[in-house]
């Protein structure tokens, strides 16, 4: 697949940052971001996060249980903000207003932490982003001092609009949230990567390790996933697979893949010096 002008910029940038991911001025060694939903328990959540090597961890914001088990363990005891960069999300929000309120609560909850994942959903069947509401929420959040990583469609024009509004990373879906359908439209992702200067991360749709590698080979700066790990038969092992896939995909991108050639096979071994062809045997 052809790469545009921004891919060479990304390669140059990769040298400057020694291959690390830089989001909102902070450097991360891992390009894999993981969620904390759908695990069997907090111990498994923690084990999977450790195996993934991820440093940025998404959490959701929900009403607290009142009048139930006062000693119920808290997610934050297992994923301490002192060790990880937490990324509170707005999952479940269908309007800009609800998303903004949710992230103001998150910032209060996390002692002023301002790096957030904005997602404004269109409908509960597809969880596809509602882009007009996403753009509106991004505008308000940036004005309010948040550093916004934003879940969005793979439309290169609107992804650029989000960057222009001041978002610190754009995160197009590769396929529907939780679907595990993989990278359905690499061409659109390529267009987003080529047009957007801030980090581009695939958020949603990855099902297995090769999907993550493909995203990284396209030139994505990172991959965010939850279900692909949590819903695997062995989540901790899949977390390790994803870590390696993201690293391998990144290495392949930096190495620069060979061009795809249809009908121009070239042998890897010397064409000359082969032994004499066998003679047809007499009947």
């Amino acid at each position: 697949m052809a790469t545009g002008w921004n891919s060479s910029l990304r390669l140059a940038e990769a040298e400057l940052t020694e291959g690390h991911l830089v989001v909102a001025g902070k450097t991360y060694r891992s390009r894999l971001l993981v969620g904390t939903g759908k695990y069997r328990d907090f111990a498994q959540t923690r084990a999977a996060i450790e195996a993934s090597g991820a440093e940025i961890i998404t959490v959701a914001i929900r009403r607290t249980n009142i009048g139930q088990n006062a000693n119920e363990p808290s997610l934050l005891e297992y994923v301490p903000p002192s060790r990880y960069t937490l990324l509170p999300n707005t999952a479940g929000c269908y309007s800009a207003e609800d998303a903004v309120r949710t992230l103001r609560l998150a910032r209060e909850l996390l002692d002023g932490h301002d790096l957030v994942k904005l997602e404004v959903l269109g409908d509960p069947q597809t969880l596809y982003p509602n882009m007009p509401q996403t753009l509106e929420a991004a505008k308000q959040l940036v004005r309010d001092g948040f550093k916004v990583m934003v879940y969005c469609s793979d439309d290169p024009i609107q992804a650029k609009m989000l960057e222009d509004l001041g978002c610190v990373a754009v995160m197009p879906l590769a396929s529907l949230i939780g679907s595990g359908m993989g990278i359905l439209n690499p061409w659109n992702l390529q267009l987003v990567i080529d047009r957007v200067g801030v980090p581009v991360l695939v958020d949603a749709g990855v099902g297995t390790a090769s999907d993550a590698a493909i995203a990284m080979e396209l030139g994505c700066d990172g991959v965010l996933m939850n279900t692909a790990i949590a819903a695997a038969r062995d989540p901790v092992r899949m977390a390790s697979a994803m870590k390696q896939a993201v690293e391998a995909g990144r290495e392949a991108f930096l190495a620069g893949r060979m061009p795809k050639k249809l009908y121009s096979a070239t042998p890897s071994s010397p064409a000359s010096g082969t032994i004499a062809p066998s003679q047809p045997k007499a009947a």
């Binding site: 904390t36 929900r62 009403r63 607290t64 009142i66 808290s74 934050l76 999300n89 103001r104 909850l109």
Partner: protein, 67 residues
């Protein structure tokens, strides 16, 4: 008597109380909880000085697993 809504459920109290006292009543003292009152954040530093009034809508939230 004041009637308020906490996380979608109706509750009644004999007299107005501040957010800190409300959290104590709900056995949430010391828990990592963020408070929104009528759509506005109530910072932790103001829990002791912000009164809950009749008709208030409160949201008390925590971090949970999610993607």
């Amino acid at each position: 008597m004041i009637r308020i809504t906490v996380n979608g459920s109706a509750r009644a109290f004999e007299q107005p109380l501040d957010i800190g006292a409300l959290l104590a009543t709900l056995e949430l003292t010391g828990k990592k909880v963020a408070v929104e009152r009528n759509g506005e954040i109530v910072p932790k530093s103001a829990h002791g000085t912000t009164l809950v009034l009749d008709g208030d809508r409160l949201e008390l939230v925590v971090a949970v697993g999610g993607g």
